[in-house]
Symmetry: C2
Subunit: 358 residues, 2 copies
Amino acid sequence: MLTAAVPVFGADAPARRLRGNAPVRSPEVADRHVTFRLRADKANEVIVNGQWPNGRASMAKGTNDVWSVTLGPIEPGVWEYSFQVDGLTMIDPGNPAIKPMREPRTSILHLPAQPPALWDFQEVPHGVVRQHAYLSKSLGRLREFDVYTPPGYDVQPDTRYPTLYLQHGAGDNQATWTVHGKAHWILDNLLAQGRAKPMVVVTMDGHAAIPDGTGNQNNTALFERDLLEDVMLFVEVNYRAKPEAASRARVGLSMGGGQSLTIGLNHLDRFAWVGGFSASVPAADAVAGALRNPVATNRKLKLLWIGCGKDDFLRQRNEDFIALLKAKGVQYEWHLTDGNHSWPVWRGYLAETAPKLF
Amino acid sequence: MLTAAVPVFGADAPARRLRGNAPVRSPEVADRHVTFRLRADKANEVIVNGQWPNGRASMAKGTNDVWSVTLGPIEPGVWEYSFQVDGLTMIDPGNPAIKPMREPRTSILHLPAQPPALWDFQEVPHGVVRQHAYLSKSLGRLREFDVYTPPGYDVQPDTRYPTLYLQHGAGDNQATWTVHGKAHWILDNLLAQGRAKPMVVVTMDGHAAIPDGTGNQNNTALFERDLLEDVMLFVEVNYRAKPEAASRARVGLSMGGGQSLTIGLNHLDRFAWVGGFSASVPAADAVAGALRNPVATNRKLKLLWIGCGKDDFLRQRNEDFIALLKAKGVQYEWHLTDGNHSWPVWRGYLAETAPKLF
């Protein structure tokens, strides 16, 4: 079992000590001023590209081949940033906080607000994020999903909970809504403020089709099978999740918003709460059943929440979808807000919608 | 709440479609041959550096500025690799599987074996990995730890479990033992084979001192406080963990091995099972109490397991520590094995030691 001779790969630290290279601290936060650093001896140009306003800045090469720049004051928030080294976009290798993505090139800079925001860690009772790997029977391969359980879940064995199925966008994966979206802290904080009901939250990997570069037109159909036949079954056997439509919400953002609107509106017997954040809204024929009989649809739907930012590239498609719902007589809540196609908007949308659920 | 105008940061996918750049697939696995790819238009040299034998190879620039190389056959395993772009070491941005590290520069290539190895996902009952963030009272700041609960934990509310406190090395963090070490799958598989008892496993962040580049001589003392006063208390209140020494193990690797031997041997009233994998073994005076009275030490210790690879740079220090234990009359198990200071060795050590616990 321990036979393979392998190169010394874990021994980086002593090797570095011998070279005399201390670790490069990045990002270093002092109040709201942040210093970014990268050691790159052969680079000609190093840029930090941050999501905060005016977040793009050149870094300058100093001693010991370390490039750096100090920016600020930066507004509190959960911000994304990347380094661009001679045009190559990459994470900050000094920062363990990485946005979970299919192509990870983005680091996280979390500057808590004072007083704290809903997406900041606060001293309140906390839930738990539980990681599951599973062999999907629908898809025939190993996949992952996460489950947030609210504070007290383990000590109230007779309580059953409603479930929010919460979906990420095209670039992300099952971990993004918690690691970067801070969904677990948003719910902990809302709950502590008495503004939301305790709920279980399930975040799946929205990429059900094996990526092949073609766009995977059948991804939503494959995802639907995996959701309905594998994950929901697992969740309702292994968690104390209430097994009826009135206790299930199907919500997502961008690509996951399209999945949620499509699957939700086609399965109102399973989901009474449906939401799309900056959604890749479905074509009319993909939700024809729900549009055909608005009386039945409205009777089953407890909430159809659709939001999009004024500067979002999907704004027009969302407005067209809203016009379609209106023409057909399907009830909805429409929120045209400030913002574009980005996580600061989506954290806000979760904070707006979670109090309306269940 | 949704007021900040931010640059379009989540809209990478449509922008890329406009540029005509399809995602770059990396790593692409076909049987045991693996193709690595990176788009880098200005690079002069791109190298893949893998942990498997003969894992270092130059990549060649092809069409569309994509560098690539196909290697293999590569032996099954959970391997580390990095790209080196003009000397800058970085993760493979095509691969979402990243080794959790304080300075993330390492991707994971997991090639399951046939028949599957203990660290491969198998169709057996699975436990759950639960993520906790906490405000450490000992350290006064936000930290994280993970808890593995074995299969059946949630459906056997009257069962209490022994607890393995399992610690990573200097470069890593609380997530590394599961994401990269596959500790959860090793335990699931051992349990399914009837070779280990069901246990709870706690993995903490071993860096208790705020990193300041000085080496933090008091890190072990700070970590001990956080372990004993914050995390163990939390675990034994919130999990059904048996609260006595005979049901607690303190095991770790490298830096975490030093922490485990030091804290374990100084707190035999709390931990009856102690282990060091390729450990930064403590100095004699750091465990003087246990050495002073070997009769009492041996009576309390159910197992002192120490292992190190023949090619490990810490071999001599481990052999010196074993000689010290022998001279003082403290009982131990000593395993000088093949291998060096690396994760293939440590997965094997966990597979060897877990069956001996509890």
